[in-house]
Chain length 336, copies 2
């Protein structure tokens, strides 16, 4: 006996990945319904070899499902998610709308599955750059405490969505032909370029992506005062986010022990033989569900300082996989 499952924003980069993963991970789906905006309504997605029609969010109410995966923007989520919950669904929401709501658990299954127990019909899935960070950070923190975390990110354009992927392809072609790229989605050319800006800036000079990383990490780790700071950058990569993470632990840990801990940490694959050029790249991570960690090494000046290089597929573990794993826990399903 399975579940009635819905996907909201089904035709977006993350929505499509959710549909793919529900099949791949054999989530017990009895019936699947898909919703998207008017523009994509009437399209079909394949699920277990069958075409499923995409319904129009504007005319077809989101109801009649046990689990709803919501992969739409904050504004649409704020309207549709509470309505879907009232209609009886447990909603796993990928937007930022409810992540910091004290009544909504913010969950990465490898890190804080226990927080699911308190859900009231909405579970938030964190931002992509947060998920991969906490999967690698939590086991180190459990062992040695976290005194300070400094993160610099290298984030792919698929985090923005399908239009940004098209923009990167298109601008790349223009540059190869000797032309001048014209930004549409992004404020600056992204082909053969990069910029330290993801989401809007606030008056502190940080952009929202940086503040999400800080605030969501604190909530997930139950460390409301964790000293963590970040610079985020968008890079001309299609799929896969990388993060250079410097950690100062509270107690001495050391890279050798950190490597051991990470090697047995859930959801982590250590790829760390630099002499053989083995460290993760976005290209390696694309299509994978694990968080890949490499370049684990001691800060040579600080006995409690450690570096690591953390890479994951931002559409999978950074979004769709994490959401489906949450549903697996809620449904008592094992996962593939």
């Amino acid at each position: 006996m399975g579940w009635r499952v819905g996907v909201l924003g089904a035709t977006g980069a993350v929505g499509r990945e959710v549909v793919r993963l529900l099949e791949e991970r054999r989530f017990p789906v009895d019936a699947l319904r898909l919703w998207a905006s008017h523009r994509s309504a009437g399209d079909h997605l394949l699920f277990r070899g069958e075409k499923v029609e995409v319904e129009d969010l504007a005319s077809s109410p989101v109801e009649g499902v046990d689990f709803l995966f919501s992969a739409v923007g904050d504004q649409v989520a704020r309207e549709v998610v509470p309505a879907a919950r009232r209609a009886g669904a447990v909603v796993i929401d990928k937007s930022a709308a409810f992540r910091l709501d004290p009544e909504v658990p913010l969950v990465v299954p490898e890190v804080n599955p226990q927080d699911l127990e308190d859900h009231r019909g909405i579970v938030a899935s964190p931002n992509c750059s947060t998920i991969q960070l906490v999967v690698a950070l939590a086991p180190l923190g459990r062992e040695a405490g976290l005194e300070k975390v400094v993160v610099s990110t290298y984030q792919s354009v698929s985090g923005t969505g399908r239009e940004a992927i098209e923009e990167l392809w298109e601008q790349t072609r223009v540059v190869l032909e000797g032309g001048t790229p014209r930004p549409r989605i992004y404020p600056h050319p992204i082909a053969f370029n990069l910029f330290p800006h993801i989401d809007a800036f606030d008056e502190t000079g940080y952009c929202r992506e940086e503040l999400k990383l800080v605030r969501e990490t604190r909530k997930i780790l139950h460390l409301p005062d964790l000293a963590i700071t970040a610079t985020v950058a968008r890079v001309p990569v299609v799929v896969g986010h990388a993060e250079a993470v410097w950690v100062r632990t509270s107690r001495p840990l050391g890279a050798a022990r950190a490597r051991e801990i990470l090697a047995s940490a859930p959801g982590v694959v250590v790829r760390d033989e630099p002499a053989r050029c083995a460290y993760p790249t976005p290209r390696d991570a694309a299509g994978q569900d694990a968080v890949l960690v490499g370049r684990i090494r001691d800060d040579l000046d600080d006995p409690r300082g450690i570096w690591m290089w953390v890479v994951a597929d931002n559409l999978r573990k950074g979004a769709a996989t994490n959401a489906v794993q949450i549903a697996e826990l809620l449904a008592g399903a094992g996962g593939a």
Copy 2:
């Protein structure tokens, strides 16, 4: 009255830039000689509208010049630079061969011009990623001291040389056509990808580029015990290196004051109005001599913590411009 000037490695990415800058900055050149390996000998470069033939390093001794700009690899530099000095030249060497030699000054003209006084015929120009870092870091250090520096870099392929630029173009075309990129110069595909590896790894798990950044910064700033650590990454950008730099100063400084200091620091241009999407990108820096700094902001947890985003043209300020500026100081020439 001018000088007899030579450029060694004249046909490489940096050598060509040196020839261009000697003209652009009106360095007082009476006679220009160019040397390169056998493969490029016989080629011509334009200087002030005239063709200058490239001589074969193997058959034509490097002599008869007052200033020699050396833009070759460490191994060739180790042979040719001392010989050229014995032949009477003052050599400005871009390789890593002599940078940490206590008898060789390592100079960034905006930061430690006084070190030129002690030269004995060889002056080393630092690594690209070091130069842009110290230009931004030194003024903050002078004001408030430096307790800890954590750097993550985003480095363009032109730092490797012309073959790497070709590799990026070629792989990009292959990926656009749906093919699989085959690495030749780099250990991994670089098109739409990136990796945390520049130069060889040592037994500590750091690669040489990271250790250069650490050791050269200490030497230039005359802070042999400075706690500074780095992760470097190669990104699919042609020209322009970016660095996300987190600094903990010894005394409170604050982003507002740091911005003031940087705005009047030599060689720095502050571009820091995030609300207007104004922050430097590699594309902005390409072709510029200045080090561009933006995203200057306080660490929200640490009253002595500051972030900045530092970008420069790695072939110009990161290499050729710095070398020509050194020659300008040595020659008492003003620069453009």
